[in-house]
Subunit: 219 residues, 2 copies
DNA sequence: TCAATAGTGTCTGTTAGACATTATGGA
DNA sequence: TCCATAATGTCTAACAGACACTATTGA
């Protein structure tokens, strides 16, 4: 992990907003730096791809690469007052089983520990960006196993979007987007009717692909 | 302008996609570098804001700062094969009267000269990003004088979005978004009924601001 | 049987897009 | 007058959201 002893490898830093669904809530990985808390970050190595570096950062903290990861727009200003570096935010998602190393922990998104104002703003910005592009990126599917119920999928969407969705409308939108395909398997989860399992199977559609619209409200 | 003789000021470059409306078409400023053509770029000075640097770049090329400008998401990889730099794309708009210096020229968006593949991809990406966020950023108004007709506004929207909009729907969306206010002036443009002049006057609205939706089609 | 969850059918208010109509200038 | 453009009203198909209903399991 980069600290004050680490040799400066480049002039840009990577800040990582790594998310995971744990116990039905969206969590963000936060590192403990001495007494303070901060988002995981790293100096970008000269010549290396930023995304590769961000994945390496995720691997250092959780032992696994992120299941999905993308860069955001660099915010104005530098990460630390002492540095002259440009900071590129990355947002990623990872499975709930990834246990972070000692100096980091998962925190519920709505109860994040104190972060530097710039980091907090950056995290919110990159999360908003994710939510705006959820209809284009298959993020939710990376947080589920290859076969999942539609209720599970909707739950992940709700956590990532930060709001409730409407069941019938969600399924209609899914159908219209040709994103999932039913399998012939069913899963019984305690009481209630068993749920059919689906797979992520985006199909190209004549006349242009149709993105999932989520103007949907509380259901 | 940065060239091989310029002292390296930082480890990041800025690439500028500067747009202007000229003769009813969207143009992009392209620089001539020796025999080749390329997007204007600059090394980011250590410690300086990227946006300030991008505006300085626009001023160097056109004599004026961009009327609107924002950063995009850095693409993977470097700008030049020989450099190890990270490249941050900027997209901006400027007025049609800005004449570029000798080693640069406006080119219609649909007839851009040959660019390096990475630059071409970056330009398309940042333009797509602009189009996705047009409903949030008041870009179009920066390309018009303070008083404008709704036909002019619609035309700018169409050029920036790259598609035709529907007149009645456009005006309905504008009204719903509370973005413009009518003045008591009218402009007669040759033949036909004079058009009322409007001003950009975004009003906060109880219950959350409503963004302009443009699912509108050919009109 | 009841409870709980999955899945689906139907209705309605909203609205994007199309179309028609009126208004108002210049030629 | 005719034509061109501005501005507005109306209609319709599509659809988001709401609601209700059926289906299928376990307790």
């Amino acid at each position: 992990m980069p600290d004050s002893n680490t040799r400066r490898k480049g002039a840009a830093t990577i800040d990582l907003v790594l998310c995971a669904v744990r116990r039905g809530r969206l969590h963000v990985l936060v590192a403990k730096m001495g007494g303070a808390t901060a988002l995981p970050f790293a100096w970008a190595a000269d010549g290396a791809s930023l995304e590769v570096a961000a994945q390496e950062l995720a691997r250092q903290y959780t032992g696994h690469a992120a299941a999905w990861l993308t860069a955001g727009t660099p915010t104005a200003g530098k990460r630390h007052a002492s540095s002259c570096a440009l900071s590129v935010p990355f947002i990623g998602v990872t499975g709930p089983t990834t246990t972070p190393r000692n100096d980091a922990a998962w925190h519920p998104l709505d109860r994040l520990p104190a972060l530097a104002p710039r980091q907090k703003a950056m995290a919110e910005l990159v999360l908003d960006s994710l939510r705006l592009h959820m209809d284009l990126a298959p993020v939710a599917f990376r947080l589920l196993s290859s076969a999942f119920t539609l209720a599970e999928l909707q739950h992940v969407y709700e956590l990532l979007l930060g709001r409730r969705l409407h069941k019938a409308s969600f399924r209609r939108a899914l159908h219209a987007a040709y994103l999932v395909a039913p399998t012939d398997e069913w899963r019984s989860e305690g009481r209630g009717r068993p749920a059919q399992l689906f797979q992520y199977a985006p199909r190209k559609r004549r006349g242009g692909h149709r993105s999932v619209r989520f103007d949907l409200l509380s259901g």
